[in-house]
Assembly symmetry: C2
Homo-oligomer: 216 residues x 2
DNA sequence: CGGTTAATTCTACTCGTGGTAATTTAAGGA
DNA sequence: TCCTTAAATTACCACGAGTAGAATTAACCG
């Protein structure tokens, strides 16, 4: 008659009994911590590619789907969160590179090649974020990442322009343009992994520093 | 026992009996012509937004799903086709603008503002193409459109560079950068329709023509 | 110490969408 | 007239996002 609890086996292989777990309450917030879930998502996406499902992510995190939903709030929210993390890492990495630059031109070069390197390294995550969005907002991930990254760059651009007595109002548009240029060149690069990243970085740097050389 | 044919009602409201229709053969090729299907897709996407389904598109074309599949070959193929058409229209429009330019700087300005105008006009179609792609290739539409458009721009850039004795090898990277900058600024613009398109075009033109003004 | 309640989880389901197979009918020749 | 072939429709499958509700247990109070 089996009076003991069912002790079912979770799909992930983790043996877990249903029902309320001991000693914790939701207010503690420690269970299935958001960070843990996001880490699992990143791990799986990096490993398996940009087309992993939320089921698979929940599995990777050792958690069931509703828990994942409680933690991150659905696919769109997940994309937002990953975009934020990716952008933050990118910003950190790039600003470290830029800080070590010896000239403005060198700074741009480091920014570009740092961006490209970092992106190639986290290829799948980058593609996941870039290709995401549901319903009407099909470019959600793209825009989210763009906004966050552009915002970081905009400050630097505005400061630099202001320090030279130039109008800093262009900073927003310029930074979106910068991120866009970087992004597209990146996507193009990501098609084949044997591309000459350095050469491409040089060429893009040249464009960014001098433009088409059309003074009016 | 109902010996007569079922005479079912098609979802579109068209009454149609299943089975082979009279008087036509596939070799005639006139039925459900590819162009017609693509036109219907564009019409519906423009009207209803970028998240329309293939079912809805088939419905709009007055055709059943398998016919749509025979005609365009699945969602990815549809995205490819729409990207191609969009890019072609864009190229035509932009090159007409550029041809009327009085100076290189003016040409860039016309290119930018032409691109932005055209994109705002075909907003939903642009979003559909940008946000599409299934399976592993989540950025398919984005890349497809980028490649096609960049290719058009690359020729112009290479010619211009060559005519000034500059190295034209940068044309590919530069054109991807150009398209990326345009694309991101566009997406940012598309969020609110009351943006000052002209002002943004001016700012982006400045970036493209002179860069950050960092001669090395 | 036992019963009641509230909390929290898991399972199982719905719904929409891309894609395909099975079914049904018309055309055309032996 | 019958049979084969072509064509198009309906109906179905697979899969992923998101959610409702059953199931189970800890906590609390008499």
């Amino acid at each position: 008659m089996e009076p003991t609890a069912p002790t079912r086996k979770h799909r992930s292989g983790i043996v877990r009994r249903p029902g309320r777990p001991a000693g914790r309450t939701l207010a503690d917030g420690v269970i299935a911590d958001r960070e843990t879930l996001l880490n699992a998502a990143e791990r799986l996406i990096l490993a398996k590619g940009p087309s992993v499902s939320l089921d698979a992510i929940a599995l990777e995190a050792g958690v069931t789907k509703p828990i994942l939903y409680r933690g991150v709030g659905g696919r769109d929210r997940l994309i937002d969160a990953l975009a934020e993390r990716l952008s933050a890492r990118m910003g950190e990495w790039v600003s470290r590179e830029v800080a070590a630059a010896r000239s403005p031109h060198d700074a741009v070069h480091r920014l570009v090649s740092g961006y490209l390197d970092q992106t190639v390294r986290e290829r799948n995550l980058y593609l996941y974020v870039s290709g995401g969005g549901s319903g009407e907002d099909r470019v959600r991930g793209l825009l989210r990442f763009a906004e966050l990254t552009a915002e970081r760059f905009a400050e630097g651009i505005a400061n630099f322009r202001a320090s030279r007595g130039a109008n800093p109002d262009v900073a927003t548009v310029w930074s979106f343009g910068l991120v866009g240029a970087l992004h597209y060149v990146t996507l193009w690069l990501l098609r084949d992994t044997n591309a000459d990243v350095n050469g491409v970085a040089d060429q893009l740097t040249l464009l960014l520093c001098t433009g088409f050389r059309l003074e009016d």
